[in-house]
């Protein structure tokens, strides 16, 4: 028996979203250009090659993935695949492509291109950042011109979801198969990419700007805009200035920049849940933190709401649920928020054996409660929160050192080698598959070495179903287990903001990068 799901055409899915709070105008005027900033020159205009944020942003507009996250609903939807299904045990996934899709050079896009792309990602020589997502792939088979079948070695209910993340967009076989290495396709990578997305490259001036024009033959319909222009603007404040002077139309906004644009009638600000959170992580290899009661006590020792109001006033929330509130299809576990209560913290620590010595420092069997907080330099909020946390922990008798380190240096090294005591970090949850990467014993992002057999069991169950209701029930169950045995301390579910020219429409409640797969819906008021 074959399970079928997500049969909606992407365009129809958009229509459904009309009924939501973030309705889109599908009868928008045509014409105009929207100018968008890139903080750096894109490293690669070939989406599957390793690169950085700027590449991800621009590549979303020129290439098409099989599935995409709708930035209005945060739901995964079919995109280049008109629909897809999986067998009973979720080991064989079949994708049915839109027919009649063409590359920007007019050649037809077929299942051969999908196979070429997936095989390239799986090739270790490519060093694709999404290669781990394909680790369980046994075979990619072209069934017919518009059908491709992927066989996995184990059940994976999130396989189609993962394809929606950046770096899995389909690349053209007819252009790239002649190169010994994809890295040899220099013109494609730097100036002249050929994709199948809503916009195509007209003029690339690396380091300066990229001028894209509407793809008249885009399979989800011609974009409302005539074009997109990406300007390389390294400085964040200059980006806001350019928004004010109409050289840019849409920028991701940091909280300190809000006053510059708030009262400007020509600019609209959108606030949204970032689907990621700031966290305080314990290294659970360290015996100091292995007892969950110690972690719970430390959570009670911090007035997290006061801290959030200090570092991010009015922009975010704190709770003890490890699933973002923005993912509405998962029922939130009814767990109690751990209020600031230093007396209770000390009481719990005393139960575990930690009591103040003559100097007021917590001590057990001659060992003092000493550790350091590792903070990555550059994120002002985390730098502030690290200092505040140090004070709260010192107040209850812990001996705490605050270490501010380069993100790409000691912070990254200790994170990857799992040698830190505690650290501050931000963790994105672009989809709930990422939760299992963070919280399961062998999860690739589980740098805190958290391991709870019950959590692993539930996540295995989550991966073996594609029934959203069942997944929701299981994820709620995970929420209860994680609350009882916390993997880290939630510091802030930070709200994010974008600001855009008021005459640009269909701006999703999302950051620029994650909005780009639906850039064909952007429009400009006449």
């Amino acid at each position: 028996m074959v399970r079928r799901f997500s049969h909606l055409l992407a365009a129809l899915a958009v229509t459904f979203a009309l009924s939501g709070a973030w309705a889109q105008n599908l009868d928008a005027p045509r014409g105009g250009v929207v100018q968008i900033p890139l903080a750096t020159t894109p490293g690669s205009l070939m989406p599957i090659l390793p690169s950085e944020l700027a590449s991800a942003i621009i590549n979303w507009t020129m290439f098409s993935p099989l599935t995409a996250v709708n930035p209005w609903t945060n739901e995964v939807e079919p995109y280049l695949a008109e629909r897809y299904d999986a067998n009973e045990d979720l080991t064989v996934w079949t994708f049915y492509l839109h027919q009649g899709v063409t590359w920007h050079d007019g050649e037809p896009l077929t299942a051969e291109d999908v196979k070429f792309t997936f095989d390239a990602i799986r090739d270790p020589e490519t060093a694709a950042t999404t290669a781990p997502d394909f680790r369980g792939v046994v075979d990619v088979e072209v069934v017919d011109t518009y059908t491709v079948r992927v066989t996995l070695e184990a059940s994976d209910g999130f396989f189609a979801d993962r394809l929606s993340l950046g770096g899995n967009e389909i690349i053209p076989k007819h252009i790239l198969e002649g190169f010994d290495s994809l890295y040899d396709a220099t013109e494609f990578i730097t100036r002249a990419p050929i994709g199948s997305g809503p916009f195509k490259m007209r003029n690339a001036s690396p380091g300066n700007f990229y001028e894209l024009v509407a793809n008249e033959d885009f399979f989800l319909g011609r974009p409302f805009l005539d074009g997109l222009t990406f300007r390389v603007v390294p400085d964040g404040n200059t980006r806001v200035t350019q928004l004010l002077t109409r050289q840019l139309d849409w920028v991701d906004l940091e909280a300190p920049q809000l006053p510059s644009v708030r009262n400007n009638p020509n600019i609209a600000v959108t606030t949204f849940d970032s689907l990621g959170y700031q966290l305080f992580a314990w290294n659970l290899r360290n015996p100091l933190f292995q007892d969950p009661r110690v972690r719970i006590a430390m959570t009670h020792a911090v007035d997290r709401r006061a801290m959030a109001n200090t570092v991010s006033p009015g922009l975010g929330y704190v709770d003890d649920v490890f699933i973002p509130a923005g993912v509405e299809w998962v029922a939130r576990p009814d767990v109690e928020y751990r209020e600031y209560d230093p007396e209770l913290a000390l009481q719990i620590l005393a139960e575990v054996g930690w009591t103040p010595n003559a100097d007021g420092i917590l001590e057990r069997d001659g060992e003092t409660f000493s550790f350091y907080i590792l903070v990555d330099r550059g994120d002002v909020q985390r730098e502030q929160m690290g200092l505040i946390l140090q004070q709260y922990f010192t107040d209850i008798g812990m001996d705490v050192e605050y270490i501010l380190a380069e993100r790409g240096g000691r912070w990254l090294e200790e994170t990857q080698q799992r040698t830190f005591d505690t650290r501050l970090a931000a963790f994105p949850l672009p989809n709930l598959d990422w939760a299992q990467r963070l919280y399961t014993c062998n999860g690739p992002f589980n740098s805190q070495s958290y391991c709870n057999e019950e959590v692993d069991r539930i996540f295995r169950a989550v991966l073996s179903t594609i029934d959203r209701e069942e997944q929701s029930r299981l994820l709620t169950e995970v929420g209860y287990v994680l609350h009882a045995d916390p993997p880290n301390m939630v510091l802030l579910w930070r709200d994010r903001m974008t600001a855009h020219a008021a005459d640009v429409g269909n701006i999703p409640p999302n950051n620029i990068k994650d909005s780009m797969p639906f850039s064909h819906l952007l429009y400009r008021q006449r």
């Binding site: 250009v33 100018q35 750096t40 020159t41 490293g43 690669s44 390793p50 690169s51 950085e52 270790p124 020589e125 490519t126 060093a127 694709a128 950042t129 290669a131 781990p132 890295y183 220099t186 990578i189 730097t190 001036s205 690396p206 380091g207 300066n208 700007f209 001028e211 074009g227 222009t229 300007r231 390389v232 603007v233 390294p234 400085d235 404040n237 200059t238 200035t241 350019q242 004010l244 002077t245 050289q247 380190a405 380069e406 993100r407 790409g408 240096g409 000691r410 990254l412 994170t415 990857q416 970090a425 994105p428 690739p444 992002f445 740098s447």
Partner: protein
């Protein structure tokens, strides 16, 4: 003179070797990794594959020897982030940097030298004091701050000039359009160098005024304009040349902060990006370019001394 030039060039090569070697090992010693490897969610196997492909898995000494042997063959290597030849990237960015640098230099010379002469011609006058005050202000004002102020005033408030970029995208090239983008960054870039040059010109001029040959010229009955225009100028401008020689590579080598602030697509902003992204070949490539600019401009100034002042001989 030829022998001197050859000696200086050889010394320049030695300087270049020291500069790039020091830069290479400083980059290795600095914290941080190549930007595409600095993602904590990057799978270790992917990171290893990237390092293998780029040769970053080799010992530092091996990387250094390989890089230096490429340099000896005139190959600056490929950018680790952009996978493009560094030389090509520098050449692409050079026109923008030269345009900005030489415009700023033009402003510096056209404003700095005349105002220095005017100040020296009437020392301690109201005009001299006003110019001195302006020059101190120009030297003391951080250029990134001045840039932000000018952007707010002329772009945001008045809307007279574009605040960033190099051209209006989507429109055909026009000189007027290019000038409108050039004005603000060039003025900001030239502010401190103009102030510097003005002060040096003034003091050099004042020093020359009190020399014996000026007294002799005046005693011969020469008119004051001829004394200043012929006798003083030739002597006073020699020290000024030194300052120009030091300024030239600063302007041509890319004004990193100004280019970044105004999103000017030159070598300076590329160097900043390369440093942030830990793109070693690109950092080294831009370092070599700037070092060569310094060496060549110093040599040119040395040779010009001889041409201007016959007392200076190289043999």
């Amino acid at each position: 003179m030829t022998e001197y030039a050859i000696k200086q060039l050889l010394a320049g090569v030695a300087v270049l070797f020291v500069v790039v070697t020091a830069t290479f090992f400083l980059i290795q010693a600095a914290p941080g990794r190549l930007s595409i490897l600095a993602d904590p969610t990057l799978d270790p196997s992917v990171a290893a594959a990237i390092e293998r492909r780029l040769g970053l898995d080799q010992p530092v000494a091996v990387q250094y020897v390989r890089w230096m042997s490429n340099i000896a063959q005139g190959d600056l290597g490929r950018s680790l982030v952009f996978n493009r030849p560094v030389m090509q990237m520098i050449v692409e960015r050079l026109p923008a940097t030269l345009l900005l640098g030489f415009t700023a230099l033009l402003i510096t010379v056209l404003v700095g030298i005349p105002s220095g002469i005017v100040a020296a011609r009437w020392p301690n006058s109201l005009l001299d004091q006003a110019l001195s005050f302006a020059s101190i202000l120009g030297l003391a004002t951080p250029n990134f701050w001045l840039g932000i102020l000018l952007i707010i005033l002329f772009s945001v408030q008045l809307g007279w000039l574009p605040g960033a970029g190099m051209q209006t995208i989507g429109q055909p090239f026009s000189v007027l359009d290019r000038l409108s983008y050039l004005v603000l960054p060039a003025v900001v870039l030239a502010t401190s160098t103009t102030a510097e040059l003005m002060r040096y010109t003034r003091s050099s001029w004042l020093e020359a005024i009190n020399q014996d040959f000026v007294r002799t010229a005046r005693s011969k009955g020469l008119v004051e304009s001829r004394v200043h225009g012929k006798h003083i100028m030739k002597n006073a401008l020699i020290p000024v040349l030194t300052i120009l020689g030091l300024t030239l590579p600063r302007l041509v080598g890319g004004a990193a902060i100004i280019e970044s602030l105004f999103s000017w697509p030159g070598i300076g902003s590329m160097a900043v990006n390369a440093a942030i992204g830990r793109d070693t070949p690109l950092i080294l490539g831009t370092t070599i370019f700037v070092a060569v600019a310094v060496i060549v401009s110093n040599l040119l100034i040395d040779l010009l001394y001889g041409a201007i002042d016959p007392r200076i001989r190289f043999d």
